[in-house]
């Protein structure tokens, strides 16, 4: 039932603009990180999420602060969408003590449990298993919290996918499995390494409700994720979302992005940019003026400029802390 505050049936104006803003925060932060990487300010890898923003944003819009996310090496977008500031993300890649992992992680090991980000990972697959375990925990402890695993098509051919989906299904755990099928596992075309490239069909094989959708359509992701989160919270078990999307930058900044896909293909996907599409949709629906979105653009640009300044001005970690928190408890001897 539409109300005057809705720009699109079922979607409040405030939420619609927040989706736009969140996607833009990711895009602008990634652009800034790519520039910083080229300038030598990022010390290790830098896997950007450019082109895939609708997935993280559409899913995270339904999560409470106490719901949790486990993610991948391409996790900047998940971290920002779950509530991490661009400041903490950029400072982490710059290796500074103000970074989300206090300089221990870099691009691939982002931790912010205070906003429900339980970690991104440099290993493909574990996010699926640990998110399943968080779901186990939430049910054992009698809460209605929900756990989310983000992973790529590369993880779908890994044993963790098989084991985790089966465990979540047999125990009806409150977990949302979000596959970002960006068509390439690193630089290997998924279709050439998948006996059955239909990821959603694989979910069905494990007894999970599974949905394939356009991962560059934030509204589609938002709707499907909303239903999956509600099911999980009601105790009705896990769901698999296969979000077809595309990364438009190289696997990792500075890597040669050739020999496995064509320029035409990349350009075709750039034309399906989820942010531009959402902007057009909002303007076409009425109720949102170009100036509303332009104002958001300016706010986000300022936020990211400030984040980059903050990161560059932040201090380095103290080398004497290099072994802190290997253990919770003090080492008694040895």
């Amino acid at each position: 039932m539409a109300t005057v505050s809705e720009v699109i049936p079922g979607l409040a104006r405030e939420r619609a603009l927040a989706l736009y803003r969140e996607m833009l925060v990711i895009r602008r932060t990634e652009d800034a990180l790519a520039r910083a990487h080229a300038a030598g300010l990022v010390h290790g890898a830098c896997h950007t999420y450019v082109g895939e923003e609708a997935v993280a944003v559409g899913v995270s819009a339904h999560l409470r602060p106490d719901d949790t996310v486990l993610s991948t090496h391409r996790g900047h977008g998940h971290a920002l969408a779950k509530g991490m500031s661009p400041h903490a993300l950029m400072a982490e890649l710059f290796g500074r003590v103000t970074g989300c992992s206090h300089g221990r992680g870099g691009s691939m090991h982002l931790f912010a449990p205070e906003v429900g980000l339980l970690g991104t990972s440099g290993i493909v697959g574990p996010s699926i298993l640990m998110a399943t375990g968080a779901g186990y925990s939430y049910r054992l402890l009698g809460t209605d919290r929900v756990s989310v695993a983000f992973f790529g098509d590369g993880a779908v051919n890994n044993g963790a996918f098989h084991e985790g989906l089966n465990l979540a299904a047999i125990w009806r755990l409150p977990v949302l499995f979000v596959c970002e099928n960006n068509l390439y596992a690193t630089e290997v075309p998924f279709e050439t390494v998948a006996g059955n490239p239909d990821v959603a069909a694989r979910g069905v094989a494990y007894g999970l409700p599974s949905v394939r959708l356009d991962g560059n359509d934030v509204l589609a992701v938002h709707e499907a994720a909303g239903e999956a989160v509600r099911r999980a919270r009601r105790g009705e078990g896990p769901t698999l979302l296969e979000c077809r999307t595309y990364r438009t930058r190289a696997h990792s900044e500075g890597m040669r992005d050739a020999g496995y896909r064509t320029r035409d293909e990349v350009e075709a996907w750039k034309a399906r940019c989820p942010i531009a599409r959402w902007r057009d949709r909002l303007l076409g629906a009425g109720g949102v003026a170009p100036s509303d979105l332009d104002r958001i653009d300016q706010e986000v640009a300022a936020l990211v400029r400030e984040a980059a300044k903050f990161a560059e001005a932040s201090p380095w970690p103290d080398p004497s802390t290099a072994t802190r928190n290997v253990y919770t408890e003090p080492r008694e001897t040895g």
Binding site: F111, G133, V326, T333
Partner: protein
């Protein structure tokens, strides 16, 4: 004091902790209504039900990763691998995630997980049911490694392990599971990082690991009749390692033998020898000696199996050789 078997004592510790803390749960194959292949959970399913005594599919990597996630989010899982060899399917999760999450999150996430299973040579269990893998885990930052050798320690160390916020590898040697001994009633905890003097002596120090503690004590009793006084140290936990107790003993005896059924290269004995050489060199009257199982996968046939693991006779020979140095 009443006597229990090693397995009964460990189970009592687990039962007490499960009654005390509703966030403790156990996963494994056949640990539900069946009570565990080694009776590790007998009688507990009836008390606590399926969610806390969770029979799993044969999916070690899966339930290890699951329990890692559960431990990060408020639960206290006990993973019962039955045989620790099976945990090797989960090494990626254990070494890349379980042991590192506390560090990577800079202490904002905890990892209260117990990883338990049976280890050791015996019963013609052969290659895939006889491994002892404690040196691997001792090498990795983040793990606590407990290797109890008495029923009382099985109970006290398991209770400490379940209450620990660090991941604890808890390895139970198969040859010890049915041994009996006195076990304190009630809330009995053994701290990590405190070695036990299993037998006091003054001529030679033998540090035993797992079943080799019992074999060293048996050898010491034989040698006592020959007038030699052998001190046997049981580290009880390998991480943290109580080097001070070993150094005090070596200060007294001047001679050190480390007896361990697992492999010599890069093993526990190598580490203890290096640390004693570093910190106790002036106390040594003879080279440090190691006695290890042969560096080979574990064979099946009884004479082959007997050939690869040091028995009491082998300990006797090693001590006599060391005394002659």
């Amino acid at each position: 004091m009443r006597e229990l078997t090693f397995t009964e004592a460990a189970r009592e510790g687990l039962a007490e902790e499960m009654a005390r803390d509703p966030s403790v749960f156990v996963v494994g194959e056949g640990i539900g209504t069946r009570g565990g292949n080694f009776n590790t959970t007998a009688g507990l399913f009836e008390r606590h039900g399926a969610e806390r005594l969770r029979d799993t599919p044969i999916t070690e990597r899966g339930f290890t990763g699951l329990c890692t996630g559960a431990a990060m989010t408020g639960a206290r899982p006990v993973v019962d691998y039955m045989f620790f060899d099976f945990a090797l399917d989960a090494l990626g999760e254990l070494l890349n995630q379980t042991s590192k999450i506390q560090y990577m999150s800079d202490g904002r996430l905890r990892m209260p997980i117990v990883l338990r299973g049976c280890v050791g040579v015996g019963h013609s269990a052969a290659t895939h049911h006889s491994g002892s893998y404690y040196p691997i885990f001792t090498n990795i930052p983040g793990f606590r490694v407990a290797v109890p050798t008495t029923p009382a320690d099985a109970k006290g160390l398991l209770k400490t392990a379940i209450r620990s916020d660090d991941p604890v590898v808890f390895m139970e040697h198969r040859a010890l599971l049915q041994t009996r001994g006195p076990v304190p009633d009630g809330d009995y905890l053994v701290p990590f990082g405190r070695a036990a003097v299993a037998r006091a002596g003054s001529d030679v120090t033998v540090v035993g690991v797992a079943v080799m503690v019992q074999r060293a004590v048996a050898a010491a009793e034989v040698l006592a009749r020959e007038g030699a006084s052998i001190e046997v140290i049981d580290p009880r936990t390998l991480a943290p390692l109580d080097l001070d107790t070993i150094l005090e003993s070596v200060h007294k005896t001047g001679r050190l033998l480390i007896a361990d059924e697992s492999y010599g290269p890069c093993g526990i004995g190598a580490e203890i020898a290096a640390q004693v050489a570093d910190r106790g060199f002036d106390d040594l009257d003879a080279p440090i000696r190691r006695l290890n199982g042969l560096h080979t996968p574990i064979p099946y046939s009884p004479p082959l199996e007997k050939a690869v693991a040091p028995d009491v006779e082998a300990v006797l020979r090693a001590i006599r050789d060391l005394r002659a140095e």
